[in-house]
Each structure stands twice: as C-alpha cells, then as structure tokens.
Amino acid sequence: MTNTATIDRATFENLEQTAGADFVRELVATFLTEAPRMLDDLGAALAAGDAEKFRRTAHSLKSNSNTFGALTLGAMAKNLELGGLAAGRAADDPIGTLAREYGRVAQALTELKGD
C-alpha cells in the first residue's frame, strides 16, 4: 500500500494533472534512476570532505523530492543542504536515515506509477 506520509498525494496528483500521467510515469522512472546516484554522490562527497558537492547534491535531491511530493525526504535533504558536511556527520546517521526514507519513497512512487 501507498504510504501517504511519504508521498503527498495532492502534490503528486497536481503534477499528473499539469504534466500528464504518462509523462509523470517517465519522470518517476528518471528519478528512480537518478536518485540512487545522488545518494552515492552525497556519501562520496561526505567522505571526501567536498562541501560544495555535498551541498549541491543535497539541494538537487531536495528539489526533486519536493517535485513528487516526497516532502519528508525533501525536508531531510534540505537539512543537509543547509547544515553542510557537519550535518552529514551528525551522530544519528542522517545519510542512513535519508537512504531509508528514499527506499520508502521509491516504493511508494513505483506503486503510484503503476496506478
């Protein structure tokens, strides 16, 4: 079942209405291809101490998450964008939390896409 807390249905439906459901299906597929790379980039930038890349990648992930209504994922990414490397290195494993939330988002989007 779709986790409504993970994907804001109103945002997603509005996207489908303005851009077309078929197009959104393709857009979701693109996101599901791109996002794992962004998560990898985020981890790599953190390990390398590349603050600029870390911020930019978090920014991109935030932007895409909000587009699909993945507001929780968007908020997590925003925290990393604003907090930078320090936020990424916080004790509560924010990157791991982000990856788990992405897993839920990917599942929800896949289900929505198949509607």
Binding site: T18, A19, E26, L27, H59, S60, K62, S63, N64, T67
Partner: protein, 350 residues
Amino acid sequence: MTDRNGHGARLLVVDDNKVNRLLLTRNLELMGHRVTTAENGRVALEMLRREPFDLLVLDIEMPEMNGFQVLEQLAHDLQLRDLPVVVTSSLEGLDNVVRCIELGAEDYLTKPVNAVLLKARISASLEKKRLRDQQKELVRRFAAPEVAQDLQQSGFTLGGKRVNGTVMFCDIRDFTPLVESQSPEATIELLNTYYTLMFNAISSQGGIVSVMAADGLMAVFGAPLPLPDHCAAAVRAALEMIELIELFNAEQAAAGKTTIRIGIGIASGEMVAGYTGTNERATYTCIGDTVNIASRLEGHTKQAGRAILIDAATRAGLASDASLEALGPVTVRGKTQAVEVFAVDAGRKT
C-alpha cells in the same frame, strides 16, 4: 518567432538536474514553446552565442558555471543583455532571490515550479521582450544607426557631452521657386530621392544626419561615436553628395524634369552633442559655435558661388594636397570676428 501571446517562442532551459530539465521542458512545450536544454551555465552560454533564443529559464545551483555567473556574463554581453531570464531555483534565502533580480533576472520562481505561475511569468516576460524588440526597431528606423547603438549602450539621458567633430549643413538652392513650379507630389518625390542620395553619401563616410527640415539637413561626423578623421570624412561625403546630385540631374534632365543644385557648409571643432527635447520627445543634435559657423557657411555658398565651403579648422584636418581655394576672411551673420573660408574644388577629389 512568437505571436502576440508569446506562443512558439524559442526557449533555453538550463538545469543540471535531469528530472528538473524534463519537467520544465514538458511544461513549456505544453504551452506551445520550442525548448532546448543545457546542463550547466557554460554550455548554455555557448548555445546562446551560437543561436537565437527568446528567453532563458535558468537554474542557479549548477556545477562548472552557476546561474549567478551566467547572469553576470549576460549583463556584460551587448548581444545578450536584453535576453529575458526567468530563474527557477529552490535555493534557500531571500538574499539569493534579490541577487538574481539585481543581476538582471526578469523573474524568480521557486521550485517545484507551479505550472500556472510558470505560464504566467513566461508569457509576461515574452510580451515585455516583444515590446522591447518593437521599441528597438522603432529606434532603428527613426534614428541613425550610431545614435541607436549609443542609445542601446548608454541609455537615454537628456543633456550633452563635449566632443570634437565636424558639422555639415546642406540644402537645395532656390527651393521655394522650385516648389512653386511643380506639383507637391513631384516635390515629395524629388525630396525623397535627394534625401536618399545625401544619406548614402553621409553614412558611407561615417556621418549621421541629425536634423532634416524641408530641403535642408544637418549632419555630424565624430558624434555620438568618435571618428578619427572627421574633417576629411565630411569633405569626402560633401564631394560624393555633389557627384550624386550631378548624376541625379543628368537623369532628371533626360526625363525632362527639374534639376537641383545644393550648397554645403562644413565647420569643425568642439561642440556639445547629446539629446535635447523632453523625456517624451527628444532628438540627437549638436550645439555650439562650430554648428553656427557650418550653417552660416552653407548660407554663404550662394554669394560665394561655390558648392562646398569649409572653415579653417576643417582645412587643418585635411591632407596638405587637398584641392582648396582660400576665399579669405568672411564676415558671417552672428559672428563678430571674420571667419577664414575655403572653397573645396568639387571637380577634384581631396
């Protein structure tokens, strides 16, 4: 090209993120626009310099060259600085929005972009661009190219600056009896041909026609853009004008029509060049003693029986072997001191 509602415009979307590029492209295509994409600022600038676009949809956060840098480059590019830019970004902070607007962006939309807002902003920007293009076209048509260029580069402000240049006055001799001897239509046709010939001769030598009144015109060499050999350029233009009038007269005579003669006065020196009038209606012109002398010399051509008269300052700017005849000091109206006058031999090139 776009129609009145801005449909079918050529848009360039710049975003490093694929999902954003696809979604923006989709929304803009649904509005009827043709969309090309670039994945960073550097690529976008290359494309903008290679092919024409009506509007740029710009992301800020990008590798290689970000949106701020693109805006800065556009502002310094004479060809591209009027290109409307709509920024779409999810950057945090109002200061970033302000920075975009200060750098010349037309509008700013926060991502995720609302499709309805996007449509409204893009249409408004395209409409503004259409009006600007229309204004530029009007300026081009009603002002000399140099004046139009000066206006575009420096903007319009009333007031002048001191320049060194050469002023030319020219008119048709015995114009009043000529007007009375033929139909108004024939006079208009004659004037149109006359102006076409004079404009060609003047602009081919780098001069601009700043004033036209009935059969007379005033041209400036060396303003608004500097011209190193403004004295010689004005005299070359004058000789070409006489030559063109002779050719025109030969045609007129063959067709049994009226022939004309012109008188030209040229003076050089300092003058104040700029826009005079009001903020609503202004003209580019030059003012100063140099202008008065040129006008008086033109008036004096009739008494002197010569087609081209120049002052000493213009003569000083010509090659030493120029074919001139010194007519001595002449007292011209409005001047307390006599002016040294030289006639240019219209039979020979200087």
